[in-house]
């Protein structure tokens, strides 16, 4: 009897040390991406001229603000094992819509409201078709991507719609506490969606659905409702990005945001969001967006031809996915 007791005590002590070690691994895993970004930023600061200046950093932030906003909601979409290709078209359509309504009504507020509603409708259609009619998300959003892009061209007659109201331009150009409004909006998105992901049932359920939709449903998760909400919110945020982009360009352009959806998804994947669903972190997505923007920015400063920038972006994405694979393999070995 005493022998068994002694063995039991030894066992618990060992497991406690093991527990601590395993938790440490978790922490290293969680923050490895942030470390990579800090190193990248430091190296570029020393090697690339003009990189480490306030103006450049603000410019960098502004350049990734649209991608950043939508990456927040795309994270939810990917985390629930879904996919949304329609955001680029929604960005364009929302910009056009906003410009047309604002011009016709003379009210910028009405224009913004109209395009946010349009975004919500597009998102809701995506969500209902995918969740209720059980059509594959890739196919559904590929279709809506085409349809919405078409709508953008039809409503604008294929041309940029200039906005006459001065108030509209300030939205993209105004600075608050030293940072442009779009950057503040993006920061707000990261805070709000970070809290939603980590601190609410909505976020936790999103991850559960992505991890195993059947098990989530049997555990009492409102799967359909959550999936519709994810797409609806994504539509609204994409529209918001479209409005801000239009404001920065002073017009709603039907061909805006081409390839935008892929940049957003790239940033998410770079940030460690699993395409298999169930794994996502807001800090990862933030760093993913920043790494994309930083590399782009540094290449521009170094006068690297824009054509080559495609190659670099693709290479970074591949490397990120490979690193993620290796990490997973170590965990399951």
């Amino acid at each position: 009897m005493t022998e068994t007791n002694a063995a039991a005590i030894g066992a618990t002590r060992e497991t406690q040390a093991d527990r601590r070690r395993a938790l440490l691994w978790h922490i290293v895993d969680d923050y490895s991406l942030i470390l990579i970004f800090i190193v990248l930023f430091a190296v570029l600061s020393f090697t690339v001229e003009y990189f480490f200046s306030w103006d450049n950093v603000v410019g960098l932030a502004l350049s990734v603000s649209q991608i950043g906003m939508v990456a927040c909601t795309m994270m939810f979409c990917l985390a629930s094992r879904d996919f949304d290709l329609s955001v680029g078209s929604t960005v364009a359509f929302a910009g056009v819509m906003c410009a047309i309504v604002a011009n016709a009504s003379g009210s910028v507020v009405l224009g913004i409201a109209a395009s946010l509603v349009a975004g919500a409708v597009i998102g809701a259609i995506n969500g209902v078709v995918i969740a209720k009619l059980k059509i594959n998300a890739l196919i559904t959003t590929l279709a809506t991507m085409e349809i919405v892009r078409g709508l953008a061209f039809i409503t604008s007659h294929g041309q940029a719609v200039g906005v006459t109201s001065e108030a509209f331009f300030t939205l993209g150009a105004l600075e608050l506490f030293g940072l442009p409004v779009p950057v503040w909006v993006t920061v707000a998105c990261f805070v709000v969606f970070g809290v939603l992901l980590n601190k609410t049932i909505y976020g936790r359920n999103t991850l559960a659905i992505g991890g195993n939709p059947d098990a989530a449903r049997l555990a009492g998760v409102a799967v359909d409702r959550t999936r519709i909400a994810i797409f609806l919110i994504q539509g609204v945020v994409a529209a918001l990005a479209g409005i801000i982009l239009a404001s920065r360009m002073t017009s709603g352009q039907p061909n805006a945001g081409e390839g935008f959806e892929l940049n957003v998804i790239s940033a998410c994947v770079l940030g460690g969001v699993s395409l298999m669903g169930g794994r996502a972190s807001i800090s990862g997505v933030l760093v993913g967006v920043l790494i994309m923007g930083t590399v782009q920015n540094a290449m521009s400063l170094m006068n690297i031809d824009a054509f080559y920038q495609y190659l670099v972006r693709g290479a970074i994405l591949l490397i990120a996915v490979l690193v993620d694979q290796l990490k997973n393999r170590r965990q399951s070995r």
Binding site: L23, V195, L207, A208, D214, A216, A219, R333
Partner: protein, 511 residues
């Protein structure tokens, strides 16, 4: 069977393997003679599967070595092990479902004529081999159209055709029918006669006694016992060494007080439940549902819970009606369900143990009605990890990395964490789980029943139903055929009621 004069065919020497946070194996060694079947026993998570993955070249051991015929092997990948004549047949089979039996068997070396696949030659070759082995399979049948047992047979044939001299079978019978099991046993006996060395992993002790010449028992990543022969060894000895304590009667049934009717099911129908089904369960009662696979037990319970659409009938919990086809209303009424297929329907593999436990109950612990209460969830998770003895390095471990028994305990914890649990339906709660964990799960059911929860347990293991339930309900072809109180139920009458009329009551295998 007196071939053990020279070096053993297969030898594990001081094997050690550590994963982040878990010591899976420590200084484990045993050897297997040619022409023998060596049983490998232990609870889930004892390290058996890790050992098999080391043998198969999937894991590289941190310490120790594997020797074949006295020669030390250095497997770096699965192909190395295959080349050395090792075939490991895992629980999760590896085959191409869209291809036929012969294509799977000949994968990578299909005979060709003028650069095209010579189907006739392939068919002839496959027929001859299957006939020689006495395996009754159509070479042209697609793998996905075969039963799990038949697919397993294909896998074994594949190993034999590769001329493997060492075969390891990891729980081969867990999803086999009685007849398929017999075929498998005959094949294993033939292979033994041919001088193969075999490792046989199973939770079913009578299979071990029937097939194995020798056995090794693992516990917590260590070897606790070696038996050169199983003659004179009792079942109780094996169980006791596996579990590390004397669990006595594995079912450990204790009678309880029963209260009013808690769950009432009246005339319920669904798409897979054609005839209306009615039954009642009292507070504190454990009702066992027994029947053959496909008798409609899971189907009716899924409709009762709301997982599948309810087309007719009423379900009430303590007199309050539960909305049809509405899982969340069932949970709010205190009616919960642990599904049969843990991996597909139970756990969320990539999420943590804590997430899996808190997924449902967290709605009652929100701060400001909106935010998840992390501290409360950590406390809940740790409470159940300790109470149900869930073996995990910590609550943040992804649940897919746990063994089956521990995953099942986590799924149970999910419902134990509900503050107002009234009816618990468990579907095959101990399938693929070792003796020790089974016993622990039964104790959880007893404890819940003692608290007044009405428990419904679906099980295909007759001894389990007879040993645990206060009342047994048998089903056959979608119908409830009989009910027996604990005193009246025995193997014969329960089985007779569960079998379709006209079928002979062949005795079933015990668990």
């Amino acid at each position: 069977m007196t071939m053990a004069t020279t070096a053993p065919r297969l030898e594990f020497r001081h094997i050690g393997k550590t994963f982040p946070g878990v010591r899976a194996l420590g200084d484990v060694g045993f050897s297997v003679r040619a022409g023998s079947v060596h049983g490998l026993l232990g609870e889930n998570g004892a390290g058996k599967s890790t050992m098999m993955k080391i043998l198969g070249g999937e894991y590289i051991p941190d310490e120790g070595e594997v020797a074949i015929d006295g020669e030390v092997m250095h497997f770096r990948k699965a192909a190395d092990a295959i080349a050395a004549g090792v075939a490991v047949i895992h629980q999760e089979l590896q085959y191409v479902p869209e291809l036929s039996v012969m294509e799977n068997l000949l994968l990578g070396r299909l005979p060709t004529r003028f650069g095209l696949v010579d189907r006739r030659a392939a068919l002839k070759w496959t027929r001859e081999r299957l006939d020689a082995l006495g395996v009754d399979l159509d070479p042209r049948a697609r793998l996905k159209s075969l039963s799990i047992g038949q697919r397993q047979m294909v896998e074994i044939v594949k190993a034999i055709l590769r001329d493997a001299k060492i075969l390891a079978l990891d729980e081969p019978t867990s999803s086999l029918s009685h007849r398929e099991t017999e075929v498998l046993f005959r094949l294993v006996n033939d292979l033994r006669a041919q001088g193969k060395a075999m490792i046989y992993i199973s939770h079913r002790l009578d299979e071990i006694f029937e097939l194995c010449d020798a056995a090794t028992i693992f516990r917590d990543g260590r070897k606790v016992a070696d038996f050169d022969t199983l003659e004179g060894v009792t079942r109780d000895t094996l169980v006791q060494r596996m579990v590390g304590r004397d669990i006595g009667d594995i079912f450990g049934y204790k009678p309880r007080e029963q209260g009013e009717v808690r769950l009432a099911v009246k005339g319920v129908t669904g798409r897979a439940v054609q005839q209306p089904v009615s039954f009642e369960v009292r507070a504190g009662e454990i009702v066992g549902f027994f029947g053959l696979v496909g008798a409609g037990r899971s189907e009716i319970m899924r409709v009762v819970y709301g997982a599948d659409r309810r087309l007719g009938g009423d379900v009430t919990v303590d007199g309050r009606a539960v909305k049809a086809s509405h899982i969340r209303d069932a949970i709010r009424s205190g009616l919960v369900f642990c599904p049969e297929d843990r991996k597909e329907d139970g756990i969320i593999g990539v999420r943590s143990v804590s997430e899996n436990i808190n997924i449902s109950a967290r709605r009652n612990h929100l701060t400001a009605g909106l935010f998840v209460n992390d501290r409360n969830e950590a406390r809940t998770a740790d409470t159940y990890i300790e109470r149900l003895r869930i073996r995990t390095p910590h609550r943040k471990q992804e649940i897919r990395l746990l063994s089956g028994g521990n995953q099942q305990k986590a799924v149970l914890s999910r419902w134990l964490a509900e503050k107002d649990l009234r009816v618990l339906i468990v579907d095959e709660p101990t399938r693929g789980i070792d003796v020790g964990a089974k016993n622990e799960i039964y104790n959880v059911l007893y404890e819940l029943a003692a608290r007044g929860v009405a428990v419904v347990m679906i099980s295909s293991e007759l001894p389990e139903v007879l040993g645990v339930a206060d009342r047994v309900i048998t089903m056959c072809r979608g119908r409830i055929t009989a009910q027996f109180n604990r005193g009246e139920a025995n193997e014969e009458n329960v089985l007779a009621a569960a079998l379709p009329e006209g079928a002979s009551a062949t005795p079933m295998r015990n668990a």
